[in-house]
């Protein structure tokens, strides 16, 4: 799936325009601003949904943007459920959205 639909957020142009680097999102190579918050860069590139909810499989994406709500998790370079609001864009990063798979239960779920 490509960037979902319309990108409803954009990055304001400024004198300090960052360099863009290549990042793989699912199976597509996308250019994102180096060093910026990944969740923000994904939103500006049109990726508003990053995972499917645990029971209903409904699309979910960044919400609090401060590391608290865990709604923005995706698989990053093979690590499951990384908060995209807490990592910076890096060249060669591989992002896999968790749209179909139910997220892994948190550590206490086995109890």
């Amino acid at each position: 799936m490509a960037a979902d639909e319309t990108a409803w957020l954009r990055q304001v142009e400024g004198a300090d325009a960052p360099a863009f680097v290549e990042v793989t999102i699912d199976d597509r190579v996308v250019r994102l601003p180096d060093g910026e918050m990944l969740a923000a860069a994904l939103l500006a590139a049109g990726y508003a949904a990053l995972n499917g909810s645990i029971v209903q499989g409904a699309p979910r994406g960044p919400f609090c943007l401060m590391g608290s709500c865990f709604q923005c998790v995706a698989e990053i370079d093979g690590a499951p459920q990384v908060r995209t609001c807490r990592v910076a864009v890096r060249a060669g990063m591989r992002v896999r959205r968790l749209m179909d798979a139910s997220p892994v239960r948190p550590p206490d779920a086995a109890a």
Binding site: Q11, P59, P107
Partner: protein, 463 residues
């Protein structure tokens, strides 16, 4: 370096940074542990690049520069989350190297700030719906702003600030929906005791009016429409308790929606440590009990800033100075004497802010009716997809305490550990059980309070 961690400060926002800098100025070492990339907390937040935006507070950059100059005395640890605290003050720190370290400070200052307060409504989990604070963070850290029609809804000073900030970046603000009534004359008089702060609020309001942004006071968003992305909101008038009324509803197209009814103290660490807590709506709901010296019921554990009681940046800055003195005095450090004058000045500043804070609280304090917009199908817990009906069924089946209610429904047991939904569950349980919300016990949490890869814990030895 043993002294370096005799005092650990958690959170590098205004309160924590001020405390660390005051201690360093008196020659006292401390560790300053913060989960963000850069110091400043949410209010002084910055990203990979410093960006200009409307209303940017210059004190943030000054505090960051001061921190840089004091790195010899301040053991600053960015990108480090506290995943545990024990009653003997041992701290579990998950650092950027992916390893959890257990620190043994003699005193801890928690300056972990506030969490945004949300009310579950139909459609609030759709992509395109953000926390109001989240939209502001996108602007501050990344210069990312909405490009479709925006509706901002909730209450409190952040509502108009974010609207004015986004408007200044060229965003199209379709409406600002404020659950609170306009401030009364008495409240305006109280707000006028801090002319600089009132002036800021008036400027935001005028900026919105000049551009003919509709501001609907005493209204709230009762539903968000859309299938894979938000497309519109349904708005309703509210009563004095912010409960939506059945008539007078209207629909507004929106592609980006920001929700926020204010903030509440982040009490997850004081709860985990076992401190006593009180409930008071004017302080942001559940909050930790403190002495005049900002010490909790656990000796050596202090809390400063919005993490203790919602008071905004000026109060947090003052409490940072107060707690620096208090913690030095607690440890019997000779430098405490040098910190007393700063603490005394901070106490006077706090006294000067009292009328303003009371007026602001009276105007925008969250009212319980805000939780009444959830319908049977509305998701209360976003992490575990738990609906209002599932919680109501469990309460009807006798699960009237929050712990068993969580276990039976999984509400509040997902990845976020209840940080997003706990106030809504408490209010729902109170309403269904016919109890005052202050009588609803708090859920317990346990280490780790944030998911930690198993390998990260492997290195943990004894203390």
């Amino acid at each position: 370096m043993a002294d370096a961690s005799a005092i650990a400060i958690v959170g590098a926002g205004p309160a924590g940074l001020t405390a660390a800098l005051a201690l360093a100025a008196a020659g006292v070492r401390c560790s300053l542990i913060d989960d963000n990339d850069a110091a400043g907390g949410q209010i002084f937040r910055t990203g990979a690049r410093e960006r200009a935006y409307l209303g940017k507070d210059p004190r943030g950059a000054r505090l960051r520069a001061a921190l840089q100059a004091q790195r010899g005395l301040i053991d600053y640890r960015p990108q480090s989350e506290i995943v545990g605290i024990e009653p003997d003050l041992a701290l579990w720190v998950h650092g950027p190297a992916g390893v959890v370290e257990r620190l043994r400070p003699r005193a801890v200052v928690l300056a972990t700030g506030a969490l945004e307060l949300w009310a579950p409504i139909p459609g609030w989990t759709l992509p395109g719906v953000y926390g109001l604070g989240g939209l502001q963070i996108l602007l501050k850290t990344s210069g990312v702003v909405p490009r479709g029609p925006v509706v901002l809804a909730g209450a409190g000073p952040l509502l108009r600030l974010v609207a004015a900030q986004l408007l200044a970046c060229g965003a199209e603000i379709a409406a600002v929906i404020d659950a609170a009534a306009r401030p009364s004359l008495g409240q305006l008089a109280g707000l006028a005791t801090q002319p600089r702060l009132l002036g800021r609020g008036v400027r935001w309001e005028l900026a919105l009016r000049r551009r003919r942004v509709p501001i609907l006071s005493r209204h709230t968003v009762v539903a968000i429409e859309g299938t894979r992305h938000a497309q519109a909101v349904e708005v309703a008038p509210v009563d004095d308790e912010w409960r939506p009324l059945p008539s007078g509803r209207r629909r507004i197209d929106a592609a980006v929606i920001g929700l926020g009814f204010g903030v509440r103290p982040n009490i997850e660490l004081t709860r985990l440590a076992g401190c006593d807590h009180d409930h008071d709506p004017a302080s942001g709901g559940w909050h930790v009990s403190r002495s005049d010296a900002l010490e909790t019921t656990i000796a050596g554990l202090f809390v400063a800033g919005d993490g203790a009681v919602i008071g905004g940046v000026d109060r947090a800055l003052a409490e940072g100075a107060l707690v620096a003195h208090a913690v030095a005095a607690r440890l019997g450090l000779p430098q405490a004497a040098a910190l007393a004058a700063g603490a005394e000045a901070a106490r006077r500043r706090l006294a000067g802010q009292r009328r303003f804070r009371a007026a602001l609280t009276g105007w925008s304090m969250p009212r319980p009716g805000m939780f009444a917009a959830a319908t049977a199908d509305t998701l209360i817990c976003r992490c575990e997809d738990v609906t209002r009906a599932q919680i109501a069924d469990a309460v009807a089946a006798g699960y009237t305490e929050i712990g068993p209610l969580k276990m039976s429904t999984r509400a509040g047991m997902g990845l976020c550990q209840g940080r997003s939904c706990t106030p809504a569950i408490q209010h729902l349980l109170a309403a269904l059980a016919g109890l005052p919300v202050a009588q609803i016990s708090l859920p317990t949490s346990r280490i780790p309070i944030r998911p930690v890869p198993l390998g990260a814990m492997a290195t943990l030895g004894g203390g």
